[in-house]
Amino acid sequence: MLAKRIIPCLDVDAGRVVKGVKFVDIRDAGDPVEIAKRYDAEGADEITFLDITASSDERNTMAQVVEQVASQVFIPLTVGGGIRSVDDIRRLLNAGADKVGINTAAVKRPELVKQAADKVGSQCIVLSIDAKKVASSEVHPRWEIFTHGGRTPTGIDAVEWAIKMTDYGAGELLLTSMDRDGTKIGFDLELTRTISQAVSIPVIASGGVGKLEHLCEGVTSGKADAVLAASIFHFGEYTIQQAKDAMRAHNIPIRV
C-alpha cells in the first residue's frame, strides 16, 4: 500500500541550516549534510530544502549543498526558494535534487510551470502555494494565494490556482497555510482537504504543526498525501520515528 510521507523541511541560508522563529530570530541549526543524514537514519521519507538566501551569489551555494547531500543521502530531495527559470531548475536537478518547488515565479509567469514540466517532467515540479483565508463564511470559505514568503497578496483564488497549475503540469502541490505557519496549532485542515480533493495530483500539507497529532490529522481529516514540518523535528522535540509511531497508531499506512 502506498505510504503517507513525512517530510522534514530545512531552511538553508548561505549553506547552513537555520530556523527562524517568527521570521526574526534566525537560529543556526547546523550542517545540512549531517542533519539530512540524521533524518534519513530516523526514517524520513523525503527531505525538503528551502533556500532562504537573498542574494543570487549565494544561490550557487545551494547547488553545492544539494550535491553534497545527494552524494550521501539516498532518499528524494526537494529544493525550493528563489527559482525563476528552467535553467535554475536544471541546475538544481543536475546537482542531485529530485524535485524543485516553484512559488512566486509561477504566479508571475504561469507558463514557466508548463515549460518546466515539458523539459524536465511533471514528476520534478512541485508547485508551492502559500494560501491565506480571506472569507470565513462557513458555507463558502475562500483562500487566496500570497507570494514573496507570504507578504504579497495576489487576489488569486487558491483552489482555482491549484487546479490550473495541475493542468499546467505540476506533479505535486506543497500547500502552506499562511494563517497557521509558525503557530503550532495545527494545519488548516479545511484548506488542505478542499485542495486535495479538488486536484488529481498529490498534496503535501504544511504550516502549523506543533505536535504529532497534527501530522495525523493532516492525513486523516486533511486528506493530504504527505505532511511537512520543520520546527518540531529541528530542535529535538520529536523524532521522525515518533511521528511514524503516532501515524501507525492511527492506522495510517507508513513506511517502516
Binding site: M1, A3, K4, R5, A70, A95, D98, G121, P202, D225
Partner: protein, 213 residues
C-alpha cells in the same frame, strides 16, 4: 577492473544513480556514465535509467544509435532497467498516443486512471511515494531484502507483461501491476533503488554482485 556503464541518452538526471552505485561499489568496480554504443559493448554490466515521456525517450535512444547495443547487452551481461528504463523494454507504450519501444519483453505500458479504485476518494497520479513490492519469484537481486519492503516510486504509467512468469515483483496502486520483471540477464524495476534508502542500496549491491545467471 569491472566497468559498470550507466547509460546516458539525455533523458535522465544521472547524479543520483551514479552516486548510489558509487556508494555501494567495491574497489574492483568502476562506475562510468556512457553515451556511445561502443561504451556499452565494452562494459561488464549495464544500468539503464530514464525519465520523462516514452516518445522522447525512444527518440533519444534511436537518435543516439543505442538500440542495437542495448539489445545486445541485455542478452549477454547483467542489465538493470530503472523506471522509464524498464518501460521502454516493452513492445509499446500507451503514452504519447502510442509509442513503439524496444520490444525486449512482450507486453505494453498502460496509464493509471483516476477511475481506478483508491483508498480515500480519487487515485492521485503520478503514483508518488513509498510503496511495497511483493516478491513473486526468487531472484539473486532480492538477496537480503524482506518481503513487502518499501521502495520509492514516481510514475504515471505501468508495465503490463504478456508473460506472467517474467514478473518477479508486484505492487498495488489502483491495480496490481508488475513493478519488477526479470528474464535472463535483465532485471528491471519501476521504482528508484537509488532513492530507496537502505533497501535500494542493498538491491544495487546485489545487482553489482549478480552473475546474471
Amino acid at each position: 577492473m569491472k566497468k559498470i556503464a550507466v547509460v546516458d541518452y539525455g533523458m535522465s538526471n544521472l547524479h543520483s544513480v551514479t552516486s548510489a552505485l558509487k556508494a555501494v561499489a567495491n574497489d574492483q568496480q568502476v562506475i562510468e556514465v556512457c553515451q556511445r554504443p561502443e561504451d556499452i559493448d565494452n562494459a561488464d554490466r549495464i544500468v539503464f535509467p530514464g525519465q520523462g515521456a516514452a516518445a522522447d525517450c525512444m527518440q533519444q535512444i534511436r537518435a543516439t544509435g543505442l538500440v542495437t547495443a542495448l539489445q545486445q547487452a541485455a542478452s549477454e551481461k547483467p542489465f538493470l532497467g530503472i523506471c522509464m528504463g524498464m518501460q521502454v523494454l516493452m513492445e509499446t507504450s500507451d503514452e504519447n498516443g502510442g509509442t513503439d519501444c524496444l520490444a525486449m519483453f512482450k507486453g505494453s505500458v498502460k496509464q493509471f486512471g483516476p477511475d481506478m479504485p483508491a483508498a480515500d476518494g480519487r487515485l492521485k497520479v503520478p503514483h508518488m511515494g513509498w510503496n511495497q513490492i511483493r516478491q513473486t519469484l526468487d531472484h539473486p537481486v532480492w538477496h537480503g531484502i524482506a518481503q513487502d519492503s518499501y521502495f520509492y516510486f514516481v510514475h504515471s504509467y505501468y508495465v503490463a507483461l504478456a508473460h506472467a512468469k517474467q514478473q518477479v515483483g508486484r505492487t498495488h496502486y489502483g491495480v496490481e501491476f508488475t513493478s519488477v520483471l526479470a528474464q535472463g540477464y535483465v532485471f528491471a524495476m519501476q521504482c528508484h533503488p537509488e532513492k530507496s534508502a537502505d533497501n535500494g542500496l542493498q538491491l544495487l549491491t546485489n545487482f553489482l554482485n549478480w552473475s546474471g545467471k
